[in-house]
Symmetry: C2
Subunit: 362 residues, 2 copies
Amino acid sequence: MTTKSNLEGTVLSGMRPTGDLHIGHFEGVLRNWVELQENYDCFYFVADLHAVTTETDTRQLRRNTLEMVKDWLAFGIDPNKSTIFVQSYVPEHSELAVILERLINIGALERMPTFKAYVEHLAGDRRVKVPVSESSKETRELHGDERLEFIASSEVSTGFLTYPVLQAADILLYNTTHVPVGEDQLPHIELTREIARKFNRQYGELMVVPDALLSEAKRVRGIDGRKMSKSYGNEISPRHTTTEITEKVNRILTYRKRLTDLGDPFECPVYDLQKIFNKKEDLEILQDCRNASIRCYDCKMKLPDKISAVYEEYRAKRATISDDDVMQILVAGNLKARKVTSQKLDETKRFMLMNYLEEGRK
Amino acid sequence: MTTKSNLEGTVLSGMRPTGDLHIGHFEGVLRNWVELQENYDCFYFVADLHAVTTETDTRQLRRNTLEMVKDWLAFGIDPNKSTIFVQSYVPEHSELAVILERLINIGALERMPTFKAYVEHLAGDRRVKVPVSESSKETRELHGDERLEFIASSEVSTGFLTYPVLQAADILLYNTTHVPVGEDQLPHIELTREIARKFNRQYGELMVVPDALLSEAKRVRGIDGRKMSKSYGNEISPRHTTTEITEKVNRILTYRKRLTDLGDPFECPVYDLQKIFNKKEDLEILQDCRNASIRCYDCKMKLPDKISAVYEEYRAKRATISDDDVMQILVAGNLKARKVTSQKLDETKRFMLMNYLEEGRK
C-alpha cells in the first residue's frame, strides 16, 4: 500500500452488484471514487447483502460481482491505494448491524424516504380492501397511511426496513469520516450519525460520527429521458463501440419538433452528456440550443467520439483483467478490511462490556 | 465428548442472562435441559444478544452470564455431553439473521403475539394524541390499532421487532430438530419453520425444519401470585437457606380467609409447589385443600425442607465452580459451536451462490 501524506480522512462507499455498470455509474460515482483515492484512505465494497435486500434471486450475483469489480479496476480504482472487498465476506458488518438494531426505534426506519418511496412504488394505484372484521365477509377500502402500512406489512421484507442499519454498520466499522453520497442518501447518513451518537452516549465515545461528502449531482438520464438503467434498455455503456454509442445517442428524445423551436438545454438528456463529455463546447451549445441555431442531430453527433475516447483506456485495461485477478484482489481486500473491522468490533464489545471471555481468549 | 447411541435429534435452547435464576427457571426449564442431554445432541447458549434487545444497559451482563452458567453446570448441564456457548461469540448467528431478514415480510413479525403484547404493555392505558396535520396545533386522539402502531414506531427498538429472526438463525444454524419451548413461544417456532421452508424453496433443501418440543407447563408463580421474578422480589431461589425458604413460603398469598373456606388448589401458588416438590403427598393435599381439612400454614410448612433438599447437591457443587472454570468451558464451547455454524453458513452461502471466492480462499 502506498503511503499517502496529508490524508483528509477515511472514505467508505459501496455499490450493489445488480448488473452491468453504465456511464451513469461511471460519471456519477466511479470517477469520484477514483479521485478520492488521492486524499483519503478509501474502502470500496461490493454491497452484496444490500443487493439481496431488493432481489433475493442470487443467480447473477457472482457474475455481476466479478464484472463490476473489473470495471472498478479498469477505470482506476487501485488496490494499492484503496481496500476493495465484498461485504458478505466481512462478518463484522452483520454482527454490528444486529447490535445497532437494538439502538434505533422502528419509526426512524419507517420514516426513511427510500422506505416510503419504495412502499408507494409497490402500492402504485392499486386499491386495497380488507375485511371489516376477522369473521366478516364485508370489506372496506383502505386509504392514505393505512393503505401504505398495509402494503408495507404484507409485501416488504424486514431486510428492506432494516437495511439503513446495515449501512450504518458498514460506515461505523471503518471509522469513516466521509461518505460520498447523492442527495437522496442524506437521510441515511443522518440516521448513521444518530445511531453513532446514541451508541456513544450509552457506551462511551467509540463511534466516529461521519459527514456526508455530497458530490455534485451529475445527472445522466437514459436515452428515453427516464432514469438510466439496463433494465429499461436506455443505457449507454462505456463498453459500447463508437458505432453503438452513435446509434444510442441518435435515439435520444430531444423534444424539439422543428429546427426553429427554441431548445431548453437543461431539460434535454443530450445536454446532460455535453456537460460531461464536451466541456469545451458546453457553453456554446447551451446558447445555440436556446437560439435554435444548432440542429439536434448535429448536437448529438458531437458526442460519440468524445464519449468513446473517455473510456478508451478503460476498455483496453479491462480486457486484460481476468476473473482470477479480481478474486485475488478481493481475497486480499477482505483480509485488509477484516483487520480493521475485527478490531473495531472487539472495541465495540469492550465498550458494551460484552467481552466476557477476554481472559479466556488469550 | 461422550458418545450417545440412539440420538433422537439435535436440541437447541438459550437463556437470557438477565439476573439470578429462581426455582421457576430451574423447574420450568433447566430440569428439562438436563434430561434432554441423555437423548439429544444439545446446544445450550447464553442469549446475550437477545438480552440486549430488551435491556440495552449491559453493565450486569458479564456477572449475570457467569452466574447463570454456574447454575447450569451445578444443576447438571454437562459440558462433556452438551455444547455450552455464548451467542455473541458465534458471529454466524448475526450473519444468518441478516440474510434471513431478507426472506420474511415485516407483517409476519408485527403479528408475533410477543410483539403485540409488548406494545400493549408499553401502551398501558396512556392516551395518545397527535397533531391533526403537520402544521396544525390541533390534536386528535388515537385509538385501537392506530394507537398501538404509533407507540410501536416511536418507542420499540428495531431489534425487538426482528429478534424472532435472530431466533430462527439460532435454531437453523445447528440443524436443530427439536426446540424445547413453552406454549407462548410456539408462534416463534412456527415462524422459524416458515423461514426454513422459504429458504429451501428459493435456494434448495438446506435448512432443517424444526419441531417444537412442548414441555409440560410447570407453572411456578411468585409468592404474591404474579409471575415469579427477582425484580418483583417474589422469587424463591435454589440458593436460599431453608430458613429463607420458610420465610418466603410463609408469605405466599393463599386466598383462603378462614380455615373453613374450601380451597381451590389449582388457583393456589402453594399447590404449584406441592406438585413439583412434594409429589408423594400431592393428591392427598389436593383433597385436603378442597375439603378444608388442612390449614394453609400446615400445607406451606411441608415445603421448605423438601425444596431445600432438591437443591442440596446443586448448592454444594456450585460452591466449587469458579469464574475461570466457567470461562474455560465457554471458550471451549464457543469453538465447538463455531465448528458447526461456520460449516452451516458456508453451505448457506453456497446454496445462495454467494461463495464467489471459493477458489480464491483455498
